[in-house]
Subunit: 470 residues, 4 copies
């Protein structure tokens, strides 16, 4: 799934009381890089001062040895961010660091508030000024309101105001606080590295630094880590859990664990279930690398059709300045993936991928397989058709661009020119991922736990924002 990819907004990381806090945060963000490639930032504090550095670019581009050595202190939080072009601004890079009445505070946020507009207007009406277009700035404004003398009370007040999806890590001079919204839409996990507590969007961040996983931060939970150890409160009313199932299908790294299983294992199960729902007589199963790899193995294993590599990926794609369709047929496909002619030629091929968004990439992918001599091409998608926008932090194309929102199965198959097309059913998907948990399925079925104001938060904030930073 490339070039028309849905995009998550962020990965977050925090560590309390470790001698190499900045380095561990750097590594944690390194492991979470797939969650955001636009900007990266780290804030540390040494109990007295806060030190921060953030910039546009990959973690490996933003930080060097010199930066890390100057990020002093044994507490740190970090953030990687993705965002669409309009708001790709350094000013929006996180974590946000602010000074307010009670001191200094840093915030890293993954997710999207659904009442951002309303809150921002309310705050502005009281005289607040805004320098970014992020929801994080709304959160810190709320936290800075001197409504209550006690920090936790102020936090509870702020959480009472915001709605939507949020996994937040806050850092003050004294503590680090991890918060997950009541529905638990975005992930947040708790671990330990020697004596230090760590928080991260995914467990893969723990693996790299050698931390061990303790447990998920629970939906609606506020975890406060300070010199007295760890304390947990649940200040918000209980509400059904709605973990974003698309984290399992697409976003999360295959080696991250949720609910006790690796994402890879879950995706193999999705692929196996897909083979049961949409069997086909074929010679080989191939995947669209790397997003379809796990599901393809599951499909092959269940169906008994041999798995092989059908595409070779160019690992140096990087940032070419070439326009997708420049000059060369199927260029946008070929620059990244080249079909293996002698694997494909004369074969009936099952191609497994994790989603179809606009359909143009799949179409071009299939065309390149035909060029390579495929006899039949059977497209299998390891989730149901995407029909609805996400208001909780995933940046799908608008409804009118989602091919499955506009067309039925046959039309999609005809558009992408597959000999057959099969999507996993909603029931099949839920069963494969482990039926007992509650998931947010809104992008498949339109059933939203939290009604958004109107449009996605980003759209709203951007709409109100009349500022363009070059």
């Amino acid at each position: 799934m490339t070039l028309e990819t849905p995009r998550d907004h962020c990965g977050v990381f925090g560590i309390y009381c470790h001698d190499e806090a900045a380095l561990m945060t750097y590594l944690g963000l390194y492991a979470l890089q797939h969650r955001g490639q636009e900007s990266a930032g780290i804030v540390t504090n040494d109990g007295k001062r806060f030190y921060f550095h953030k910039n546009m670019g990959l973690v490996s581009e933003v930080f060097n040895e010199n930066h890390l050595s100057r990020l002093k202190g044994n507490c740190a939080i970090g953030h990687v961010r993705y965002s669409t072009t309009g708001s790709s601004l350094l000013v929006n890079a996180q974590p946000l660091v602010i000074n307010y009445y009670y001191g200094t505070m840093a915030v890293a946020h993954n997710g999207n508030l659904t009442n951002a507009n309303e809150l921002r207007e309310k705050l502005e009406r009281m005289g607040s000024i805004f320098q970014t277009t992020t929801d994080s700035e709304i959160v810190v404004h709320l936290l800075a309101k001197p409504s209550f003398p006690n920090k936790i009370d102020r936090l509870i007040y702020a959480l009472g105001e915001i709605k939507g999806a949020y996994s937040l890590i806050l850092m003050s001079q004294e503590e680090i606080i991890g918060i997950r919204d009541p529905h638990g839409i975005r992930p947040l996990v708790l671990g330990k590295l020697d004596e230090a507590y760590v928080l991260a969007s995914e467990t893969c961040a723990f693996d790299l630094i050698g931390a061990h996983f303790i447990r998920d931060v629970e939906p609606g939970e506020v975890v406060i880590i300070n010199e007295n150890g760890i304390k947990s409160i649940k200040p918000m009313p209980d509400t059904p859990h709605k973990f974003c199932i698309f984290e399992l299908i697409y976003f999360a790294r295959p080696d991250s664990f949720f609910f006790g299983k690796s994402v890879h294992t879950v995706r193999k199960a999705l692929g196996a279930r897909l083979a049961k729902e949409h069997p086909v007589s074929a010679d080989i199963v191939i995947s669209v690398p790397d997003s379809g790899n796990s599901a393809a193995i599951g499909f092959a294993s269940e169906s008994g059709i041999p798995y092989d590599r059908g595409f070779i990926r160019n690992h140096y794609v990087g940032r070419t300045f070439l326009k997708p369709n420049q000059m060369i047929r199927n260029f946008s496909t070929k620059i990244k993936l080249n079909p293996l002619k002698d694997v494909i030629e004369g074969k009936r091929v099952v191609v497994v991928d994790d989603s179809i968004v606009r359909g143009t990439t799949s179409k071009s992918r299939i065309a390149s397989l035909r060029d390579a001599g495929a006899k039949e091409i059977h497209m299998r998608i390891s989730c149901p058709p995407h029909r609805f926008p996400c208001y909780y932090g995933i940046d799908f194309p608008s409804n009118t661009e989602l091919i499955a929102a506009q067309h039925n199965l046959d039309e999609v198959a005809r558009f992408i020119q597959a000999d057959s097309l099969g999507y996993l059913s909603i029931e099949g998907m839920i069963e494969a991922v482990g039926g007992e948990k509650e998931f947010c399925l809104a992008c498949f079925n339109g059933d939203y736990a939290i009604k958004p104001e109107c449009g996605t938060t980003k759209e709203i904030l951007e709409r109100n924002n009349s500022t363009v930073r070059l």
Copy 2:
């Protein structure tokens, strides 16, 4: 006056309704570059959106053709900034652009508030968050307070709160507003370029773009420029004018005009008066280039002693990474100025400069003249001794480092090893600059029009700021 130079904080520029607003602002800042070399920024608006770009560096480094073409719209304001190392932060670069309840606003500020700390605390107590350590952020917080529905009322309220030195240019979607504090400490001039009104710190900015000077913005005046033309109000109580005399002695460009005379002409008069107050029998008059050039010509003309070049300036000094005293005797002096041996040798030399701050540069300068064979060296300074700190935007070294605050004339002369030393008297200075106006003389006589809280504003804001951006 080098390496121990007092430093002003800013130059500001604004233009209303010109087809090439961004280009004119670029050129205006170019001409005002001497007022701040640390960062530069331009904000434009096209009636709908605001466009801005700012960065660390000189105007010629910060902007390229591409930036200017993307800074759309026919209104613009710009800013150049100087600041000491601790707070040399991009985040502090101006103009500041914010979104608030009534829209978007940009602010460029030259000067220093004397009650910044008090105001900031008051604002934080009401829930404001601060992302910079500039007084401009305080100003916009005040302007954003929804105290009154009418913009001008809100502005009057904000001006009623702030104390100190400020020449401000504000830009909203509809207008550009120029404001000068009631004492008129920092300069702000009004001009016209074809049909467009322009505001700038100094008239030299008008010369470059071909604008003509109309008049000074008066102390305490608020000039509102919009589609209805220009309107002026004076919402603040009248108070004695206190124009910073050091603008004339040192800061302003020699070709800028104040009170109808060029700064060069004023400095020649200072030099002539100096010759009368401290006559000496000598062979040549030389200046410390370029700061002493004008006064030296006045001194030579009045005294009848021939003027000659005594030092040659290296025009490529730029930013060397070398430490001032590295290895080589009088290095810090020689890297910039080399004495002309065959001019100096065997001569009785009058050296004219515009100030002595710590004394170390003068000492080293005099030593290099002795090395070049000077028989006698008579130092003449075109202003009185600096004895007191400035709270209105000039970044003198602290009191304990000002040599004249700690030592009498003889001690200073002995320290710098001059054969004689003469400072201009306060009376002589006032007479030479045109006695009738009122000036701020606080750095010479300690007579402060506005009492500061405690320390300079920058010190206070920095002190409260526990954040270090790498």
Copy 3:
């Protein structure tokens, strides 16, 4: 095979008479990026002038739109280069462009001369000066010798002087010439894009630009492409072919074709043969991604043991400044590959890779599988043990660092702590790749077709070079 990887020196590309010569060369180099990531360069000519740009970095970093538009003309050659640190110099980047008696000439070279030292001394004795440490400079010196008035005669003279491995592309105002050494050690292929002829190190470059493969440039062949079309001469005596088998095992992209088969298909055959030679009772077959992927699929298919993903690769490794062993156990392994715990845990695992060089990476890889709970680990290598250095362009560690040159099978197995270890036999390897061709097997059996002077060419040239460019 990471962090202790053998490294090839170059990829070359050339195109004669295409309207988008620079763009096609850019794309060709893009596809050949795996052959050299240190520097990239393109030279074009429009029949009158030569235009070139080269720099350190990846193709996508070195070139932008502006460069391509200024690389005028419809002929172009390009080069990507790898080299060890000592000589990572811009001055060494290729293609080399020189002016000489007969005009201008550009050269791109893949391979290593074995008599570089001798030739350089001979040339210097005649007064030649050298500005780089590349063998390409030797080649152009020879070509510039005015030994014969006719260009082809001069070329034949030069080819008569040089020994070793070389795939060369030359460009003059009039033509492009592709040359392959008599043994055919390095690859060079010929293709056509519409009316334009193209030359490249591998066929994958043709796929991306939509060119079709015509044939290999044959060992000892000189292909001259000019306005009269294409002409081929074979000026050198016939000699046994010695194609570098390591191109098939490791270097070439899996989607490149040699001898009518994709490299992926060859590697699957190597893996299948490996399964026959070293069968083992196990639960899963995994690969070390991506180098072992194809062989692992072959092994799984032959053995009937299921294939699964055992490691997840971090696609954003990029250029971290971290030292391999910094602080964290198995860090050098984990930064790139993270084992999938729930796939590995409790299993008997076959791990397929394409080589063991120093052994330290394999050891660390196996340790991380043990940490993930593997019950047994059986290492299988899809080629024979590396025991001898390469003098023809592959930058293996020195003999004393090649673990198999110093230790027998049991010792290696013990060092890497595998439960069992199996290398493919030389016979098995030859049979799997298609026995009928002649290959250079020197790194496995020490049987060198061309005896080197003493040390690798790079070592010799560097040794003689007393110049250090910062």
Copy 4:
């Protein structure tokens, strides 16, 4: 003299046996920066290896602390270079460092060979290849010819081949050699810093590092500095000396000494003589800063008309991307110099400058003085009219662009719109600079000591060069 300025090619520096060789060379180049702002380079050697760094840009931009610390060894040579756009190539930056039969050699060159083309053809005919378009590459080719086993013999052979203007500094492992052409066209001075010998283009380089001046390297002299001390030979036949008089008039820094006098003192004498030759009744004498400053003081002093500042220079002009004539009348003048209105207004003004090249700058300068209210403008030039090209290293515009080559005095005066115009006579110039020495006056009288081949060397080399590096 701006924007249409003649440009010298280089400044050179060398130091033998100093603990801080690289740092001293850095400072020496710093002081010589006015001789070339395009590229800078330093080569050092520690008796075994050569270390070098060069790049496009000013000395302060090209080098940082890290570079200097890595430029090891106690011998060093350095170079600053100017050149016109076409050949502004890094590849042409000096010093040139090459490997040849007898070891390694570095060369820094100031001047222009007049038989470069002929020599290059001759060398190419023998098989030499050229990678730059500089004459220095010709020099090293000649030095590398194994014509004689002894280095000095090879040097004498090479000097016997080359014709034209050259001040050369060579460095081998064992020694540093300074060479000046038999006519002594370009300067080269010898000094001592503690025990170390230093060579430089001008004495101002000695002042900065605290070295003392010993003597000029004489025309035709070869100074060899090695562990045996200093030795001098004169291998070339004696010939009349022809020191470039334009070094005194324009190029050299005012604080550099030639023939026992500072350049400033010489220029004052030129100005005084000019006042005698072209007296005028006027109110003030002003200069075009900074090039006319010294001559203006001389003119004022001789004529008794008061000297004043008429223009204020913007010290931050730097590199603006604006086109000279963009939009604004007299922009190209005003961006750099702003007239002082209250000095100029109503006055009869004598403007002293050091040359008129194309005339357009003078015209625009005079126009801006008229705008400022000047009553009369009398232009005085401190040298004779430029009528002929320079073949020895100064990059005047071509003959057809030199206004005085095409027009008589009256026509020039009318073109620049001066009320009167006076050039210094050749006799007056010679007398003022000290009549007894022999000077090259070719640019004034067309009397060339060495006949060039055809066109300037650069033109010839560029013409033959069909290579464009982006």
